[in-house]
Amino acid sequence: MTTTEIRETHLVPPGDDATEARRPEARRLVGGTRLADLLGLVGAAVGAVALTALLVTQIFPVASGIAFTVIALGLFVGLYALLVSLDERPVAVRDRVAMVVVHTLAFTVLLTIVFIVTFTFARGLPALVHPNFFVEDMSLAGPLDPLELGGVAHAIMGTLIQITIALAITVPLGLTAAVFLSEIPGPFARFVRTIVEAMTALPSIVAGLFVYATFILALGVEKSGLAAALAISIMMLPIMIRSADVVLRLVPGTLKEAAYALGSSQWRTVWQVVLPTSRSGLTTGVILATARGIGETSPVLLTSGFTASMNLDPTTGPMVSLPLAVFQFVKSPEPTMIARGFGTAAVLMFLVVLLFALARFIGGRTRKER
C-alpha cells in the first residue's frame, strides 16, 4: 500500500533484448536522490539563512528567534522553488515545493513538541536530581528553602489514590455500559449512546464545577480526594465507554453465534467469548482514558484544594495531585519553586509515557497474534 512499493512495481526498466544480451543489466535507480536535488536543498537553506540574517539585522530589525525561524523557513521555500524552476517543468516544481512545505510543517510540529518535552525535563532537572524530591512532601519546605528539602511524594500519592478511585468507579461501570450498548441494542441503547457521545464534549472544568456544586456546596462534603476522583470519573466515563463500544462492536458475529450454537447463555458468551476477544482493545481504551484523567488539572483544582502535606485519606481534607501541584508551584516567583514545578511536570509526563508504553505494548502484542 505504500508508494515506494508502487514505484518499484510499475516502473520496471524497459526490457530491450538486444542490449540485455550484449552487456549485464545495470539496475536503474528510480528512488534515490540526485546530487542536484541535494545541492538545491543545501543552497536554498544557506541562502535563506543569509537573507534572513540580512533582513532582520539591517532592513527591519526583529529581535526574536521565533521571527527569525519563521522568516527563514518562508524564504527557504521560496528560494527552493526558484532553484528547482531553473531546470524543471512547472508540474515538477509544484511537486517539489509541496514536498518541502510538508516536510517543513511536519518537522516544525515534531521538533516543537519534542522541544516542549525536553524543556520541561531540562528546567526540572535541578529538582529531579535530588532523591528527596520523590520521597518527601512540602510540609516542612517553604518557598525559600533549597531543593535539598521537600518533594512531591504527597502529589504522587495523591494522583495514584485519585486515579485508583476513579478507575474503580469507571472500569466496572464503563464496561457494563459498553457491553449493554452492544449486547442489548434498541431505542434505549441508542439513546444512551447519544447521551454518552454528547458527554464526551463536556469540558473538564464543567465536570469539576458540577462536583463542586453538588458534593461540596449542596451536600456539604468537604473538599477531598474523593470529590476530585468523582470529578475525574465523570470526565473519563464517556471517553472510556465510547472507546470500549467501538472495540466491542468489532468482535466477529460468527464467534458469538458459535458460542450460542454450543448452548451457552448470553452471560457466558459475553464473559468467555466477547470480553476475552476484545481484551487488548479494552485495555488500551482504559489506559488512554487514564492518561487523560491523570493529566487533568481543573477538576482537581475545584474539588480537592491544595495542601503541602501528605494526605493518604481520600475522604477528609484536601489532597493534591501532580498537575495541581505543578500549577501551584509555578504561581510562586521563587526560582526553586518554579524548578519544583517543572520537576513535578516531568514526573507527571513520565507517568503518562509509562501508561502509554503499557497501552502500546498490550495493544501491539495482540495485533500480532491475530
Binding site: 508508494t3 515506494t4 508502487i6 514505484r7 510499475h10 526574536s64 521565533i66 521571527a67 519563521v70 511537486d95 509541496a98 514536498m99 516536510h103 511536519a106 510540529v109 513538541i113 516542549i116 518535552v117 524543556f119 520541561t120 461501570l173 457494563t176 455500559a177 457491553v179 450498548l181 449486547e183 442489548i184 441503547a189 439513546f191 444512551v192 447521551i195 454518552v196 464534549a201 463536556l202 469540558p203 473538564s204 472544568i205 464543567v206 464545577l209 458540577f210 463542586y212 456544586a213 466515563l237 447463555s265 448470553q266 452471560w267 492518561a291 491523570i294 493529566g295 488539572t297 481543573s298 498537575p323 500549577f327 514545578g341 507527571l348 509526563m349 503518562v352 509515557v353 501508561l355 502500546r360
Partner: protein, 307 residues
C-alpha cells in the same frame, strides 16, 4: 438476571450523565432568570450586582479557539501528510506512536512552556505583526507608537494570541492523529491509478488523498476546536482576564469561559455560583454542537466513522 445487570449499568450511566446536564441547567436557571436576554449581550461579570453576561468571555473563548485552529490545521495537515505520504516506512510506525503520545501530554505542561518560554520570545513577533499589519483589524493594537524603538512589549504579553498559540500546539497532535488515520485509508487502487497516469506525488495527494480525506480533515478540525474551546489551565496560566470584548488579539488581556470559572469559583456566592454554572452551560452547549457537527460530517464522508 444478566440482562438486568447490563440494563442497570446502562441506566446508571445515563442517570449520571443526564444528572450533570440537568443539574447544570437547573442551577444556571437562577442566574439566567435574573439576567434575562442581557446574559448574551452584557460584557461585565459582576453577578452579585446583577450586571453580568457572557458577551465578552464567549467572544474571548471563540477568539482563542479560532487562533488555535487557524494555526493548528495547516500544521496538522502537513504532519499527517508527511506521516502517510512522505515518511520512510520504518520511521512511520515510530512517528505514529510519537504523535499519539503527544496527544496525551497534560495541558499543564503546554501551559508551563507557554508561560516560561514562549511568552518572552513571541512578543516581538506580535509587535512586528501589529506594526506591519495594522490595516488588518484584529492585528491592530491601539496605544502603540510604531516609531518609538524603546517602547516596551508589555502590551503584547498575556494576549489572546499567545494563549491561542499554546492551545494550537496542544490540539495539533489530536487533529494530526485523526487526519492521519483517514489519509492512511485512502484506497490503494486509486493511488496506483493516479501514479499509473503519470501523476506526481503532489498529484496523488491532491486527486486521491485529500478528496478522500475531506471528512477526516473537517471532523478532526472540529474535534480540535472542541478541545480548544474547553481548555482551561493552559489559557488560565497565560491570559490576564478582562471583561470587555477584546477584538485586538495581539493585545494584553483576553478571556475564556473556563478560565473565568477557574478564577471565580472560590469566592463566588451561591448566586455567583449559579452565574458560573450558566457560563459553563453555555460553553458545554457550544462544544456539544461542535462535536455533533464533527461526528456527523465524519460519519457522512466517504472515509466513514472510523475515527
Amino acid at each position: 438476571m444478566f440482562r438486568a445487570t447490563l440494563r442497570t449499568g446502562g441506566t446508571l450511566v445515563l442517570v449520571v450523565m443526564g444528572l450533570v446536564g440537568v443539574f447544570l441547567a437547573l442551577r444556571a436557571a437562577d442566574a439566567l432568570r435574573v439576567a434575562g436576554w442581557g446574559f448574551f449581550t452584557t460584557q461585565a461579570w459582576e453577578p452579585d450586582s446583577g450586571n453580568f453576561g457572557i458577551a465578552a468571555i464567549l467572544v474571548g473563548t471563540v477568539l482563542i479557539a479560532t487562533v488555535a485552529v487557524v494555526l493548528a490545521v495547516p500544521l496538522s495537515l502537513g504532519t499527517a501528510l508527511y506521516i502517510t505520504e512522505y515518511a520512510p516506512l520504518r520511521a512511520r510506525v515510530f512517528l505514529i506512536a510519537t504523535v499519539d503520545l503527544m496527544a496525551a501530554i497534560p495541558s499543564v505542561v503546554f501551559g508551563l512552556w507557554g508561560f516560561f518560554f514562549l511568552q518572552g520570545r513571541i512578543t516581538e513577533v506580535a509587535r512586528w505583526l501589529s506594526i506591519n499589519f495594522a490595516w488588518f483589524p484584529p492585528f491592530r493594537v491601539d496605544g502603540v507608537d510604531p516609531d518609538d524603538p524603546l517602547s516596551t512589549t508589555t502590551i503584547y504579553t498575556s494576549s489572546t494570541f499567545i494563549a491561542g498559540v499554546v492551545v494550537a500546539l496542544m490540539i495539533t497532535p489530536v487533529v494530526t492523529s485523526i487526519m492521519r488515520e483517514v489519509f492512511a485509508q485512502a484506497p490503494v487502487g486509486e493511488r496506483e491509478g493516479a501514479l499509473a497516469l503519470g501523476s506526481t506525488k503532489l498529484g496523488v495527494i491532491r486527486s486521491v488523498v485529500l478528496p478522500y480525506g475531506t471528512g477526516g480533515i473537517i471532523g478532526g478540525t472540529m474535534l480540535g476546536l472542541g478541545r480548544a474551546l474547553g481548555e482551561t489551565i493552559a489559557v488560565y496560566m497565560i491570559i490576564s482576564p478582562v471583561f470587555v470584548i477584546q477584538w485586538q488579539v495581539l493585545r494584553n488581556g483576553g478571556s475564556s469561559v473556563s478560565s473565568l470559572i477557574a478564577l471565580r469559583y472560590g469566592e463566588a456566592t451561591p448566586f455567583g455560583m449559579s452565574a458560573l454554572m450558566a457560563a459553563g452551560l453555555a460553553l458545554f452547549l457550544m462544544t456539544l454542537v461542535v462535536n455533533f457537527v464533527a461526528s456527523s460530517i465524519v460519519a457522512r464522508s466517504r472515509s466513514g466513522a472510523s475515527s
